[in-house]
Subunit: 196 residues, 2 copies
C-alpha cells in the first residue's frame, strides 16, 4: 500500500534493527485519512469472505480494525489486555511478547464472538505471530472461525509470516519490511507484501 | 443523542447504581454505525472552535475520538496508560481512578501535541472528572490549549460535570444519566444532556 509505505519512509523512525517507531501516524498520534484508507484496503481484500466480526487487540490495532469494520459494515471487538471489572464470562488466553519478554493475558467477553461467526483479525504489526496464535485460540474457544488476517506492517524476517503461511488462511500485509537499520533505513519486501 | 440512548436502553446493563456495562456496543464490541454517528455529532458541535487535535485516553475513548477526528479532518492522539519503550520524550501525568481506587499514569510523546494546538478531549465516560483534569494538565505542559471536551455518557451525580462547568470551556455529553439501578434501570437527565 503506497500511502502507508510513503508515510513510514517520511515519518517512521528506525530505532534499532528490530524496532520501528510509528507513533507519529499509526498507533499513538493517528492520521485519520491514512487509517481510513487502510480500512478501505483491508475491507476490499476480504469483502468476499463473509466476515461477520473484526477482532483486534488493544490498543494499536483498534483504529485499523475499526475502519475495516466500518467498510465491511460488521461489528469490531477489541480483546482487552486486562480483564475489566464489568466482564462476566471472559474467555482468556496467554500471549508471549518476545519484544518485551513477558507474557500477557488477552480476554474477550464470551458473548461478543458467537458460534458461527466468521472472524477477521486485524493488527498493526506482524512480527512473531504470537498475538495471532492467541487470537486463533480465543476464536476457537468461542466455536467461531478465524477466516483471515490483515496486518499494517510486517517484519518479514521474524517468524510470524511463516506461521500464518503454514496455517493456510488468507492474510494481507500492507507494508512488508525485508530488513531495516538506523543507518540504512528500510528495505521493502516487494515480492510478497501485497499478494497474500 | 437519541441513537446512543436507545442503544444503552436496549443493550446496556446496569450492574450497580454506579456501574453501567456498555461493552456490547461502545468500548469492547463496537457498533461501527453508532460510533460513526457519535463522531459526526461531536464534530458538528465543535466545528467552529478551530480544533487542531483530538486527544483521548486508551482504550475506551479511542474510537469515538477517532471518528470525531475523521469528521474534523485533524489528527487524533491517544494517551497511553503505560509508557511504550519507543517513547523518547514522554509527557506524563498521574490520574486517580475512583472506580478502581488506584492511580495510573497517562503519557503522550512530547511532539504529538505542539505549542499552539487547540485540543478537543473526547472520552467514553464522564464520572469523577479525573481523566479530564489529567488531560488538561498534559495539554498545558505541551503549551497547547484544551478548548473543549465531549463525553459519550455521563453519570451526572458524580463530580465530573461540576468540575467541567466550573472550568468554563464548552463540553458536550451525548447521554446524561440522572440515576440508575439494576431494579429501576436508567433515568435520563433531559435538561442538561444535550445543551452544553
Amino acid at each position: 500500500m503506497d500511502l502507508l509505505k510513503k508515510t513510514i519512509e517520511e515519518e517512521g523512525v528506525v530505532l534499532s534493527p528490530s524496532v520501528l517507531k510509528v507513533d507519529g501516524f499509526l498507533n499513538h498520534k493517528i492520521d485519520p485519512i491514512l487509517l481510513d484508507e487502510i480500512g478501505k484496503e483491508f475491507a476490499g481484500a476480504f469483502r468476499n469472505l463473509g466476515i461477520t466480526k473484526v477482532l483486534t487487540i488493544e490498543s494499536g490495532g483498534i483504529v485499523p480494525a475499526f475502519t475495516t469494520a466500518l467498510y465491511l459494515n460488521v461489528p469490531v471487538v477489541f480483546a482487552k489486555k486486562a480483564e475489566p471489572s464489568t466482564m462476566r464470562n471472559p474467555k482468556t488466553c496467554r500471549v508471549h511478547s518476545f519484544t518485551k519478554n513477558t507474557d500477557y493475558t488477552i480476554c474477550i467477553e464470551q458473548n461478543t464472538i458467537h458460534e458461527g461467526d466468521r472472524v477477521l483479525f486485524i493488527d498493526d504489526f506482524l512480527a512473531n505471530g504470537q498475538a495471532y496464535l492467541g487470537i486463533k485460540k480465543l476464536v476457537g474457544d468461542c466455536h467461531a472461525r478465524l477466516v483471515a488476517s490483515g496486518f499494517c506492517i510486517e517484519k518479514a524476517w521474524q517468524p510470524g509470516h511463516s506461521i500464518l503461511k503454514q496455517d493456510g488462511f488468507p492474510f494481507k500485509v500492507l507494508a512488508s519490511i525485508r530488513h531495516m537499520s538506523p543507518e540504512e533505513g528500510i528495505s521493502w519486501n516487494y515480492d510478497t507484501a501485497e499478494t497474500e
